[in-house]
Symmetry: C2
């Protein structure tokens, strides 16, 4: 069976029209698909993304985009089986396929969830607090994020055709930016099959996803300052793309995730036979063998205390002999599949030769190993191989990324030496530290952090739940400085921001409020006849406000509050002790009492659309309240975020409590849920 990899551009599928290339099963070298290699005409692609996909996405508020991702994830979750067979063609075991397929779908779920929990259900995202820029409060600043008006071009690597596509799609989609996927040719059939399922589902707005399977010539030529390129692949290709005029002159935002000589260090505190020793060896073997080592996050450099090098080598050899069977991933008992193809195997052999000048092969033999259920000549198989770089001053182990089941052990003298060796990777995606000693952990992690995008600490406490060295998680940034490309993907909402433009808005509070849709101190308030707690979301507007008070605070109030709460802290009960602090002239009312009585002054007690107070944010007690002070409160609707999937939404209220001298006593935000309609 041979599949033809088609492109999806401008709302239609297109078979390749020119030159074609055969794509082969990694284990058998049988043809499984053909793909075009002529360049894709980018004019209609960019036009469609910018004129159809972008506007459709930008119209949706964040929660609607997030819900679309959830619906899509749920849909794809039910279709997973159809991708596993195809994934096996790439050389992937079932476990590898889980990482690619289920992992990719998992990213969609996480982004959907984070999008709804961490973003407002609006189209303008605020960044940081309002900055007061003038003494009188008539001139303020507010940073906002708005969607860039171009497309997000993802240029992907061959190793995770599904995950690689979805982990870039989710944040761009949530940001409101349409995606164009350029899959790696070798495994483009799987990316295209997933894209087809997505597009056929109709769950994403048309134009939000296009797929171009073809050559790369001219790919960036037409991109402009509103477009974003996210590249995963080799450092040399990344450098080439970064040198393209569209990037260095045209203002294309370019991010890359490239070569990485990731390290894993066995802490100086760890003894052979201990739990951490076993964890170290197990993780190392896992990273050498999963996806046949074709992972940008795999451990390439195993840093081990000098004295433990032989023990580690022996333990790795034993574990590989006991656990690892190389072969056709669909054959029984196989735990490590093929590399993506014979060319990749040749590439690995070539890199291995270079590396071998500086390190001795101590586990595995590329010319002598068992292959289960496949012809070793026709399948791209290699065994897991461990080298030992005895001379740590050699550069090869730090510079040569062998993109296969290969790792190099390097002995180190002390923790500072381990940090130095880790840094010689000149920037990596991930490092891991296996140690149970907090001081060792701290020194290692803070020492290597500037060179790494992610550092995993493994110990007996976290072992059962740890997702492991090699697994990027949607919650955490994926990327690294220097050689690793300098980009950042994932990391929750952090990667959504890469597709947005941050802009500082300055002006009067009224003007800034008009832009953001959020009430800002100094903007007009509407303290009309209707108490804002009597308005459902249908009627409530930012700026709707209520004033309450004054209420005098009596010494008896403070005593009663102390008795009722049980809080007899000296600052509230003992004049002399309170006055001895740098802050008070005598005993003061409890801050908790101030916010409690403020609520008494602002609530409208009868049943109404305000359903619950679910929290407070940024409460600051600014001026002490002494018995005898009289307090007033102003509560103003600050931001309104109706839920996309419930009949209520969240309203944050600005609260300001002042005393009889108009000094600000307390500021905070009151968080409530409010019904969309009332009566319901």
């Amino acid at each position: 069976m041979t599949m033809t990899v088609k492109s999806y551009t401008a709302a239609r599928w297109h078979a390749p029209s020119g030159e074609r290339s055969s794509l082969l099963n990694a284990s058998t070298s049988e043809q499984v698909a053909v793909v075009g290699t002529d360049p894709i005409d980018m004019v209609p692609v960019l036009h469609h993304g910018r004129s159809v996909g972008g506007p459709a996405l930008r119209e949706l508020p964040f929660h609607e985009r997030a819900l679309a991702l959830k619906r899509l994830a749920t849909h794809l979750n039910g279709k997973r089986d159809q991708f596993y067979a195809m994934s096996a063609w790439t050389g992937a075991t079932k476990r590898d396929s889980f990482v690619d397929v289920d992992g990719g779908i998992g990213v969609l779920f996480t982004y959907s969830s984070k999008g709804r929990r961490e973003l407002p259900n609006t189209t303008v995202l605020l960044d940081g607090p309002t900055e007061r820029l003038g003494r009188g409060g008539h001139f303020v600043g507010q940073h906002i994020y708005t969607p860039r008006r171009g497309i997000a071009l993802q240029i992907n690597a061959f190793n995770f055709p599904v995950w690689g596509m979805l982990e870039k799609l989710a944040p761009a989609f949530l940001a409101g930016v349409p995606t164009v996927v350029k899959p790696a040719l070798q495994t483009s059939y799987l990316a295209a099959a997933m894209a087809e399922e997505i597009i056929d589902s109709g769950l994403l707005p048309e134009g939000s996803l296009q797929l171009i399977a073809g050559g790369t010539r001219g790919l960036l030529d037409l991109l402009t300052e509103q477009d974003t390129v996210a590249f995963t692949g080799s450092a040399s290709t990344a450098a080439q793309l970064r040198s393209h005029p569209a990037v260095h002159t045209g203002g294309v935002r370019f991010s890359s995730e490239a070569d990485s000589l990731n390290f894993s260090v066995l802490g100086i505190d760890v003894q052979p036979g201990s739990e951490e020793f076993e964890l170290y060896v197990r993780q190392l073997v896992t990273e050498m063998t999963s996806k046949a080592g074709q992972k940008c996050t795999a451990i390439r450099r195993a840093l081990v205390p000098d004295a433990l090098v032989p023990a580690v080598i022996e333990a790795v050899a034993t574990r590989i002999a006991g656990k690892v069977r190389v072969g056709d991933p669909t054959a029984d008992g196989v735990t490590m599949g093929a590399l993506v193809g014979l060319a990749q195997r040749e590439e690995v052999r070539r890199s291995l030769d270079i590396l071998s000048a500086a390190a001795d092969l101590v586990v595995g033999d590329p010319d002598d190993f068992e292959v289960v259920g496949a012809d070793p000549e026709r399948g791209a198989f290699l065994p897991p191989m461990l080298l030992w770089g005895k001379d740590t001053s050699r550069s090869e182990p730090h510079d040569v990324e062998v993109f296969g089941p290969v790792s190099t052990v390097l002995g180190y003298r002390d923790t500072a030496h381990a940090v130095d060796l880790a840094a010689r990777g000149r920037g990596s995606l991930v490092g891991s530290v296996v140690s149970a000693d907090p001081a060792v952990v701290r020194e290692l992690v803070l020492g290597v952090a500037p060179w790494h995008g992610r550092v995993l600490v493994l110990d007996r406490d976290s072992a059962a739940e740890s997702t492991g060295h090699g697994s990027p998680l949607p919650h955490l940034v994926h990327g690294g400085p220097g050689r690793a490309g300098g980009g950042e993907e994932l990391g929750g909402i952090r990667s959504v921001l890469h597709y947005l433009q941050r802009t500082a808005i300055q002006g009067s509070p009224r003007a800034v409020s008009a832009v953001t849709g959020t009430w800002i101190t100094g903007s007009p308030r509407n303290t009309g006849d209707i108490h804002p707690f009597r308005k459902s979301l249908a009627d409530l507007r930012v700026g709707d406000a209520v004033e309450g008070g004054p209420r005098a605070v009596t010494p008896d109030d403070v005593n009663r509050f102390a008795d009722l709460s049980g809080d007899h802290f000296y600052a509230h009960t003992d004049d002399a002790a309170a006055a001895a602090t740098p802050f008070f002239d005598g005993r003061v009312a409890h801050g908790y009492f101030v916010v409690s009585l403020a609520a008494g002054l602002f609530v409208s007690p009868e049943p109404g659309p305000v359903l619950a107070n679910y929290g407070l944010d940024n409460l600051r007690f600014v001026t002490p309240v002494y018995p005898g002070d009289a307090l007033r409160v102003t509560l103003t609707a600050k931001s309104i975020s109706p839920r996309a999937d419930a009949d209520y939404g969240e309203v944050a209220w600005d609260a300001v409590v002042v005393n009889q001298r108009d000094e600000v006593v307390a500021t905070y935000e009151v968080l409530t849920t409010v019904a969309k309609t009332w009566p319901a």
Copy 2:
């Protein structure tokens, strides 16, 4: 008098040893300084920064760095006068010099203040909340920022030699990264004089500031993945630097602030004679004339409703005739000085010729204007000049940045057309909108935001306090996408982050806590004999905790709390109405009561080192509390930030309230000030 511009590298001042170039007074062409033009040997510079400056800075916690900036700012504030005379050599008026000198010192003050208010007094900065990655809570993630281990090379433009240096120095210094300044040759004498004052003050650690006055050949060759370059200058130079192998392959972090065709739009709602009309014209003339238009933020494109173009041109002409006098900036009555030199004047004339193909000169004549107190032939003078681009489809007004006192009026049809014209700058530093209509403001600002780093809205409300279109503020980001360089400077702590590496740390709560120095849910707690409120900062450690309760909540408690606070909200008083909400089964205790009684359970009431509760953060009510529930609280020292300049510090406590079923009822952070020693 002729000054020799020296370099300060590796703790010594060096006079230039090779070729020298003369630097001339902008108004007279008399020699004022000489500067070397041979390349600087970067080996000792980089070595000194990395081995001396970096370690010294990284040893200081954030507040110590911030205080050093404050001391420096205070010191320089007393020395300003000595820079004004030298600033006049550059062609700057007194007012221009204020922007450069006082503005630069102001940036130091703001960063000092923000550093102490917005950063902890530690050396590791946390980014975002802890992410729970495993169901059992044994595997968590936390993003941190650590200082990059290289140097910050700033390559500056000629126009603001002091401000340009200090606005880049402050965030790098606060980040803990040593700076190397490469000033623009034309005005390097002023940058060097300021650098000398800074270095002689001894207020910054040696190695944190070096200055290299010389040629640029080989400047980037030795930079690595830990170094950061912040460039200000032309887009063509930026593109050249971005194409350097150190950047595209070596992983140098590169940021640029380059050409910018900034716009200012007169809103479609504004009538001639109105306050906003006057504000628009006044701001436009200010931006044309201040610094003789040599500002990357100056208004190059004045977008005006078609019908108002003649009125705006006339008003600009009238205002220039009445207010602007060009000449030697030290001469009486001069309001606009010289361009930086005759070469720059030639450059402006050349660009003006190109622009003139698409726009007619309607105000000002480069060949006929009055010059006060100077020889027009020997000084680099030009008059303010306004052009009118009648055919808005021409590209020149959007592409040709005439870096002098020049602006072009372009008529627009409607707001959408104005947005399109603004976007044709292909990315700018700043735009401004002059309008009093919130709907017009919203459409314009959100329309242009993706192409701009900053957008100012000007109206009668903010006019008196507005700092104006052309003034970057330390609180707000300065930079823009596309042609403007794609970089971001300033923006408060945002630009500090550019000199730090963000790293995701994963592991057990104990391990992550060891790295961050902050207590994390799941880390061990120390609930020993001593109540943590009895410990001063000398003894208190993160993880020190106290447990309190249980306390049963009675119906009478709820009633008494309602009476004392005055908060009779139905959810606390009316079983049936409470049960009708989606969240409650009957009436519930006030959230304010829950946190109040929790305080009653955790405080140690006697006088002690805990001085005050100054706020609460992130309070969330997770499970309703019904009368009859019994609550317990655990309070744990989460983060400790001793003040650098007071005998107390801030301690944030993690608070968790649970009920009799161990369900979490509320979570929050309690913010306190705690004495460094006790008894004091």
